[in-house]
Symmetry: C2
Subunit: 393 residues, 2 copies
Amino acid sequence: MPEVYPPLRPPARLLMGPGPSMVSPRVYEALAKPIVGHLDPYLFEVVEEVRSLLQLVFGTSNPYTIAISGTGSSGMETAVANFVEPGDKVAVFYAGYFSDRIAEMAQRHGGNVVRFEKPWGETFEDGEARELILRERPRVVAYVQAETSTGAFQKGKAICDAAHEVGALVIADCVTSLGGMPVEVDKTGIDIAYSCSQKGLGCPPGMAPITVSPRALEKLNARKTPVPVWYMDLKLLDGYYNGPRRYHHTSSATLWYGLREALALVAEEGLEERFARHLRNHRAFVAGIEAMGMRMLVAEGSRLWTLNTPRVPEGVEEPKVRKRLLEEYGIEIAGGFGPLAGKIFRIGVMGYSSTRENVFTVLDALAAVLQAEGYTPAADGKAAAERVLAATA
Amino acid sequence: MPEVYPPLRPPARLLMGPGPSMVSPRVYEALAKPIVGHLDPYLFEVVEEVRSLLQLVFGTSNPYTIAISGTGSSGMETAVANFVEPGDKVAVFYAGYFSDRIAEMAQRHGGNVVRFEKPWGETFEDGEARELILRERPRVVAYVQAETSTGAFQKGKAICDAAHEVGALVIADCVTSLGGMPVEVDKTGIDIAYSCSQKGLGCPPGMAPITVSPRALEKLNARKTPVPVWYMDLKLLDGYYNGPRRYHHTSSATLWYGLREALALVAEEGLEERFARHLRNHRAFVAGIEAMGMRMLVAEGSRLWTLNTPRVPEGVEEPKVRKRLLEEYGIEIAGGFGPLAGKIFRIGVMGYSSTRENVFTVLDALAAVLQAEGYTPAADGKAAAERVLAATA
């Protein structure tokens, strides 16, 4: 064991994968501010500010809007653990990995899971979503608004309407949409939405924003069995964050500071501006990809604005491209997995990473690496992206 | 909603409660370093460094030594969720709040809990601990090495020996001991030990170090039911951190950086030096308290070196003292709760907070506030503390 540990020197990465994305210097500054205790009046001031900023970005007036002390997956587990009771029928719209994870968690918590399946990357139409729910009459419906494994956006209004018709609650995974495109919890009718800090919000990982509708809280209060996970028990967290401020766990001032600063950046930019920026850079990126002769996995109209999933060209080995981008260009992107392993790239253009410069940088680097790996782009991707940006400027 | 959010200006607190404690500037610097992705080779370098440093501070050679992405309570829940199966008899040594929390979690996870009870602040002797375990023959034994609610240290060797004699695993809560006094996982025979980042280690909250013995892993692999909490499933975390580095959740580079830096400070100081510093400052603090005419809750020999629990003098209202210390002196301490509500102060002198200056500052401020609240200290606490430090220098 050496006696002196040199300071950490992390490599300078351009984070363009499905998250974490880049972090603003302002957020880094906030992370280094002096901490206060978990029951300090100042901490609760920050929590209240985060609450109202999260309401803005989630598109909700739910008073129960906080963040779980864990990553996005802890938000998912919180939703499932609190709202799926043993024996409950849980209908999951399955068209990618994260719906599968919800199903897995629901099973572990004793849920009786019914899957509505589509190939990865596809989405459900209003009519079929409605029909499936009315047929199965579940107690809980879960869908992934922003499927991080495929890049698809699933509309939710028809799902929520049908679910409420049969008395079911709706859980929506908004991990890759929050902060980068409209989530619209209230307008859509979502009962429980959760997300993460490190994608559209541009904060490091470690917090899972979550919002819970009054209807869902009523059901929670009527639960017959205790929530199996003490750490994620929303009633206990209510007593800590919302009510008497009774000690539950030692939530991290550092993580609250970072989240507040990231959300402040969202509010200062303005939601509409921010979403427009994401849409613009997404369109430019896709134009670049298509100009290079590649095709997108997800149909136009169902694509996330935050995360792009071009198909890997025939004959190209995806892991090699990814490795070269990281090692030769310092750019992190991700590949597909499960049925999409080797078949897609997952390239995030979100949060603080969503800039025209980053769109150009990634398109250029990708073109160079693809060329080196034997695929010759049909045309200049960056030039195509530039044209789109010029037209929307 | 204001359009511009001023930078956060947290109040300057001297954190002398049961945690979080003060954070070194070096750790704050580490928290502000550029993040990398959760599958970046660099992140795993940091994880490996943290692993070996945690082995050092836990006193273990367990290869399965990592940190959970959550606070200390998530470490507790990870231990319980993985090692208590429905129907298992779980024996909990109960003499404070955190053993109660373990019992509560064990019940939620279907365990059949037997409590061995003592008044808060007391500890179990070797003989009686052994007898209770042999009588009940549980499958899992849990005890709190460092009881944060009372300031008591529970010895573990006799507990572990008896537990192993009846084939039980031992879970030990080391939340308030790790980094401030010897935990000695291997020497004691603890199978699963967990802790937090924000006390003896002097890092902000957000990570829960945990170590698991090979014997415990064998039992985990023989589990008949899946671990109910996906987020805390140690087998899945094994695939992420220890084995094939398969994606599980998006662990936070920021939190790993902070934990590494805090542990590097421990290693640079040297374990023996660090423990000696804690013991010295603890003794000085206690001498100061006793000189002032106050009494400690916990018997000498069973006291934590990290967290001191003087009894509140007759006639003094504890919440008022705490409030004045915070508002007039910027010092955070805590009070008792449960059966000890209003009866004790909980004053941490640990991690980066464990300095002679802080001992003096707190004793002086406490004397002044007690005086203002109607209690006249018998003698000068600071002078008594100084004498102890001079004698041990």
